[in-house]
């Protein structure tokens, strides 16, 4: 897809379009097209093929996904969880990014450092940190007891813990996407709004927020799609009820050697992700994703 896009870009820029120029353009993009085909198109085609042919030619795997309740449940759960995590990241990330973009100085630097540090810390480490924090001997439970509430409720191994963990891990993506969009907003726009009599709230609502929307859409898309493929965090922090699609794929492949069924599940996940991207493209335009 990206190959076609860049081909189109090259063609429009080579103003007097000549056969020779075209050939050169194709020659130049050939390596990246080849890489895309070898690294993406072929493997995906192979997965699709496996899902229909392993162990024999049939659509039985797809029927099974949509008829056995547990598999449908896992699909729905994956999408609902991803939506919730995206919403939480947006709600928490927007104010952080706003301060980072609008209040230059030490506070912005500090926030940027904190966000970047957690971005660079391995997600496994961050997941294990939650195991300690939320554990029955951890600081949260201790604070609960110290305040005289007695035994703390179970925090670990709940849907709450796994949602919290995933939100924590994906928040930096959201903040950075929002920050990138907000930094581009010219401060003079807001001054102009103020000079025309807008109060700060109105200026934010009428000027700043609409201009930051590309960041909102990009960040949400990034978080949502990453969340669809989440694996370790829900395994370690959540309950079996929170099973996500990638856990299902892993189980089918590693424990049952069911390559065919696992491929079918992967194809369904891929199609659903593409559907999300298509909707995004319809309303926001995929080319805006890259700035």
């Amino acid at each position: 897809m990206a190959g076609e896009l860049s081909a189109a870009a090259v063609r429009t820029e080579a103003a007097p379009r000549s056969a020779k120029g075209n050939a050169t353009a194709w020659f130049l993009i050939a390596p990246s097209c080849l890489a895309l085909v070898v690294l993406f198109v072929v493997p995906i085609a192979y997965v699709l093929l496996l899902s229909l042919t392993d162990p024999r030619l049939s659509i039985a795997h797809y029927q099974r996904i949509f008829t056995v309740p547990v598999y449908t449940r896992v699909m729905v759960n994956t999408f609902v969880t991803s939506l919730i995590v995206t919403a939480l990241c947006l709600v928490m990330g927007y104010p952080i990014a706003y301060v980072m973009a609008r209040r230059p100085g030490w506070i912005s630097t500090l926030l940027l450092t904190v966000v970047a540090m957690s971005f660079w810390t391995g997600f496994l480490v961050r997941t294990y940190a939650w195991l300690v924090i939320l554990g029955s001997k951890g600081p949260v439970a201790a604070a609960y007891g110290a305040l005289g509430h007695g035994q703390a409720p179970q925090l670990l191994f709940t849907t709450f813990a796994s949602t919290l963990g995933m939100t924590h891990i994906l928040l930096p993506y959201m903040v950075l996407a929002l920050y990138a969009a907000m930094r581009k907003i010219d401060a003079s726009h807001l001054k102009a709004a103020a000079s025309l009599g807008a109060r700060p709230i109105a200026a934010f609502r009428e000027v700043f927020m609409p201009l930051s929307l590309p960041g909102v859409v990009n960040g949400s898309l990034l978080v949502f799609v990453s969340c669809l493929g989440f694996f370790v965090t829900p395994v370690l922090l959540g309950t079996p009820r929170d099973m996500m699609i990638s856990q299902l794929i892993n189980q089918q492949i590693e424990e049952l050697l069911a390559f065919g069924f696992a491929s079918a599940v992967a194809v369904v996940l891929l199609v659903a992700t593409c559907a999300v991207l298509a909707i995004y493209n319809r309303f926001a335009g995929l080319d805006r994703l890259w700035g």
Partner: protein, 347 residues
């Protein structure tokens, strides 16, 4: 031993007979096999017990790839790209792999039958070690005496406390049957419906279904849970670190881990040479002394101190009270039970 003398002989001949044989030895020293293993303390124990002595003796180098992946066995054979030659694998998985044609037959030109012990060969693999999946608990939580059976594990009134079980369908179903009163030698054929009825009773009391060995240790060590299903050597490790942990052999499952050679693996001849070495009593004992998984070769107990022997899955007294396994039934039923178990856990 004999081999070492043989090599010394070669060296002596090489010194006198000139460069030709020296070249042969140089080639021998660069030969390498690749072994799929679990990593961590498991691989460290293997390194000391198997790999290093084998390399010292034969000049064949051993490299490891972790973690063990059953799926990769199939993927390797299907694609013809080999990352490793040998894998450790459970007996039931090996049987399924053998049925799918994923493992090499034993190379009897390399492996010497007279140097093997009874039942060493199964489904074209060699028996490696035995792993117990046991009930373990924190002694400090039960000063009046802890649970002794699976029925006790199920008894949340008599033995209150947080519980955790292994997220493995076939193991869990067996424990449920024993808890429901099935004698340990009658667990197979599995009455799956009965097992799930029994599992319904314990489900609300299971705080976490663990999936990784170090996760199970963390849960018990930090006191996150008081009773747990655990692999025996993992529990022994906690005891060695001084944690108040007790291990129950009643109704444990004892699964044999096998060595298998991937079908068509490039270094399969050397692989069988290594496996022939690895199932001998001394290396097996060295491994068991480091990591408390039981040797499959009965002769190995000669090299293991009595107090260690008692903690191993293949110690006769432990085997007597454990569930009597049926690998064929397990291999046949795993996929179906797993699907039902996944569904049951998710609902």
């Amino acid at each position: 031993m004999r081999r070492r003398t043989f090599l010394k002989g070669i060296a002596a001949t090489a010194a006198s007979a000139g460069p030709l044989i020296v070249t042969d030895r140089t080639i021998a020293q660069t030969r390498t096999i690749y072994v799929n293993t679990w990593g961590g303390s498991w691989t460290a124990a293997e390194e000391a017990a198997f790999f290093k002595p084998f390399t010292d003796q034969t000049g064949i180098r051993v490299k490891t790839v972790a973690p063990v992946s059953y799926a990769k066995l199939k993927a390797q054979v299907q694609s013809g790209n080999y990352e490793w030659d040998i894998t450790a694998i459970t007996q039931a998985e090996l049987l399924r792999a053998e049925r799918e044609g994923l493992v090499e037959p034993v190379d009897w030109t390399v492996v010497k039958k007279e140097k093997l012990f009874p039942n060493a060969v199964y489904a074209n693999g060699l028996a490696y070690c035995a792993l117990g999946t046991n009930l373990a608990y924190r002694k400090d939580k039960f000063p009046q005496g802890g649970p002794k059976t699976w029925a006790d594990f199920w008894d949340v009134k008599k033995f209150p406390g947080n519980r955790s079980m292994l997220n493995n369908a076939v193991r869990t179903v067996q424990f449920a049957l024993v808890a429901d009163g099935v004698p340990v030698d009658k667990v197979f054929p599995l009455d799956v419906d009965r097992a799930f009825r029994k599992l319904d009773q314990i489900k609300p009391h299971i705080k976490v279904w663990w999936t990784q060995g170090n996760q199970s240790q963390q849960l018990l060590r930090d006191g996150e849970v008081d009773l747990i299903v655990m692999w025996n050597a993992r529990a022994s490790e906690l005891q060695q670190q001084g944690h108040p942990v007790e291990l129950v052999w009643n109704g444990a499952t004892i699964t044999t881990t096998m060595w298998g050679v991937a079908k068509g693996a490039p270094n399969r001849k050397l692989a069988w040479e290594f496996l022939q070495f690895a199932v001998q009593p001394k290396p097996q004992a060295d491994f068991a002394n480091k990591l408390y998984y039981g040797p499959t070769n009965p002769e190995a107990f000669k090299y293991i101190p009595a107090e260690v022997s008692r903690q191993l899955p293949t110690y006769p007294e432990n085997q007597k009270v454990a569930i009597k396994p049926d690998t064929v039934a397990e291999a046949d039923q795993t996929a179906k039970i797993q699907e039902r178990f996944t569904q049951w856990l998710a609902s």
